[in-house]
């Protein structure tokens, strides 16, 4: 006799429905499983056998053959266990077959209990997309599945639950998500007005930013506090962030989720950086999706990673190609990079004298290619704070106040770009820049003068326009004016450093 049960397999964030076909017929007592199965699924056989035995269910001495169709998709993970077990139970007449649009997801342990699996949230979302009406999932995963609307989700604790139809339901379909208390605030930073303003512009227009400064001036401290001035995540964004965390198994009982802030250092492996593995898992660039990716010691990252980063900044997603297909993970983040101005760290600093030769500085700067610099809109020097700022005990502006301005500027951008399918100024392409960053005659003349007098490179023209657009938004101005341009050109320190050093 043949019985068919459905489950789902994830590759990247894309799911495909898998049919578990269980056939039990007379023959030599064996248990065969086919369908391009990874070791983790092959082992399911043993788990299910023992679990059924421990639930006092007798497996008949017959030939049991199981196929996971479509057989051409490579499958991995322990989430197929439950579907296979249910297939066997249906075949034995212990569980009654339901209609077609039902999925079973979960891992079975020897005592018959059902264990949590990774990736429940994207699985349920994909199931809904593929027209599934009802999903059985492990009880422990119920929490993260609350985010899926219009889908009947049932939690099961043990196989016995399933047989006795003793399910757990999601009680509250409108989850309340709390933001984790961050315990940091922009007002804790004394002085550094320029960097704070640059971070505000960066947050308002999602512009990438690089902080250049000597060791110990507070680059990391400032970068860490940048997250406190970003707007709170909305519902769609929370789901996006949860999806990636769900795949990695990072969602535990409490549903506290913040905008991601991911800090990486140059010795990160390539797999941890962009994602990897035979069945590709997301890397740091995708975990930072919708948040901040902070890259300290930027010039120390090797070429390979910088080149990948360049592509990711353009495309806003990662594509990991494997024999079994390609997985796509979103990676739309704001890059905050930090670097020293030279190998010793004290070039043109107000702390101590630089001991680097011109050649040494040139080698150091040439490690970061021009191509990546072009993609960083804001470049700002971080200086040592004068003791006077500290002694004056002047409290800086609170993150909450800056956040309000950022939100306001984001709102203006959202309305303006409704038809373009983008959200912020940093996403403007060159055609859109012509349309939305048009300058009046007077301003145009001013820009011309600026380029001649300040010796800016033509490549930076678009960056300056985009940043000016954001500054104008922060100032509630409808058009880019001279003031906005004049401020925007103050954030080109790396370009100047290149001109001096190369």
């Amino acid at each position: 006799m043949l019985s068919i049960v459905k489950t789902i397999s994830l590759f990247g964030t894309v799911g495909s429905i898998i049919e578990v076909q269980v056939d039990i017929s007379s023959g030599i007592p064996t248990w065969e499983m086919v369908g391009m199965l990874d070791k983790s699924i092959q082992e399911a056989k043993e788990r299910i056998k023992v679990a059924l035995k421990n639930c006092r269910i007798k497996i008949p001495g017959k030939k049991i053959s199981i196929n996971l169709a479509p057989a051409e998709i490579k499958k991995e993970g322990t989430n197929f266990d439950l579907a296979i077990a249910v297939g066997v139970l249906q075949n034995l007449g212990i569980v009654q077959p339901e209609n077609k649009d039902v999925l079973y997801i979960g891992e079975i342990s020897y005592d018959g209990s059902i264990k949590a699996v990774n990736g429940i949230l994207p699985m349920c979302l994909e199931a809904k997309r593929l027209g599934i009406k009802k999903v059985y999932i492990p009880y422990e995963n119920l929490n993260e599945a609350t985010f899926v609307k219009d889908l009947e989700i049932l939690g099961v604790k043990t196989l016995q639950n399933l047989i006795e139809k003793n399910y757990f339901f999601i009680l509250n379909k409108n989850p309340v998500i709390k933001e984790k208390e961050l315990n940091i605030d922009m007002s804790e930073v004394f002085g550094q007005e320029k960097v704070k303003r640059a971070l505000e512009i960066s947050a308002a227009g999602e512009h990438s930013i690089i902080l250049v400064g000597s060791p110990g001036v507070g680059k990391t401290m400032l970068a860490k506090r940048a997250i406190t001035i970003y707007p709170e995540l909305n519902y769609e964004e929370i789901i996006e962030v949860m999806k990636i965390n769900s795949i990695l198994g990072n969602i535990k009982e409490n549903l506290k989720i913040n905008r991601p802030f991911i800090e990486i250092s140059p010795n990160i492996t390539l797999n941890a950086f962009v994602g990897g593995g035979r069945y590709p898992k997301p890397g740091a660039v995708s975990i930072a999706n919708l948040g901040i990716l902070f890259m300290d010691e930027f010039p120390e990252f090797d070429r390979n990673k910088i080149n990948l980063l360049k592509n990711i900044l353009d495309t806003k997603f990662v594509k990991l190609d494997r024999v079994s297909g390609s997985a796509m993970y979103p990676s739309k983040f704001v890059l905050i990079a930090a670097m020293n101005p030279c190998p010793c760290g004290y070039y043109a600093s107000n702390i101590k004298e630089c001991v680097c030769s011109k050649n040494k500085i040139r080698n150091y700067l040439s490690k970061i290619g021009k191509a990546i610099i072009d993609r960083i809109d804001l470049q700002v020097n971080v200086k040592k704070v004068d003791y006077r700022f500290v002694s004056k005990n002047q409290i800086g502006e609170k993150s909450q106040d800056i956040k309000e301005r950022v939100k306001q500027a984001r709102k203006l951008q959202e309305e303006r770009y409704k038809k373009e399918g983008i959200l912020t100024n940093s996403e403007l392409n060159s055609n859109q820049i012509k349309k939305y960053c048009a300058l009046d005659k007077q301003t145009n003349e001013f820009v011309k003068e600026l380029y001649i007098k300040m010796g800016l490179s033509v490549r930076s023209y678009n960056n300056i326009l985009k940043v000016s657009r954001t500054i104008a938004d922060l100032n509630y101005k409808e058009n880019i004016d001279i003031q906005a341009i004049a401020e925007a050109v103050q954030y080109r320190c790396l370009e100047k450093l290149y001109k001096e050093g190369m």
Partner: protein, 200 residues
Amino acid sequence: MGNTIAVLGSGINNIYPKENLKLANDIIENGGCIISEYPNDAEVKMSNFPKRNRIISAISEGILVIEAKYRSGSTITANLGFKQGKKVFCLPSNIDSKLGVGTNKLIQKGAKLVINVEDIFSELGIKKLREDIVQKWKYEEKNVPKEYKEIYKAIGNSPTDINTICYKTNIPIQEVSQKLTMLEIKEYIRVLPGDMFVKV
């Protein structure tokens, strides 16, 4: 006004380092000259550089060393100047400063400590400068437009960074940034490496 003379340690067809080719051309275009004791196509040899310093000191009337590390090229030139009977001038430095070790040592040896331009004039026997040159050197507060005055004042006489200007004037940072750009393109101020602002 004077002109620049560059003394090479290699043949004049081998400008070193290569990126200084433009500088060499600029010197000639502006009425200066480039001289070398070596044949035109002579290769670049490191040992030639300290040697050519004797020519630098020999063709000069006096040598002014602004900053010099311990045993730097400028100290070599100045020491050769001593031997040739030239006048050597030095700016004094803090004794902690690495860049002042050479100059302070030269002062110890008998170089003249220079505080202002008159110190050099008196030594070289110059009595009075032409009026137009004096005018050029005279430090004068430029008449900047009213709206920029406060920021211009806050810059002071030594290089100042933007946060300090912000602190001194209590003007919001965006306005300071913006006005500094204006002052820069109107050539009232200049930006030094590391975003330090100085009056022109």
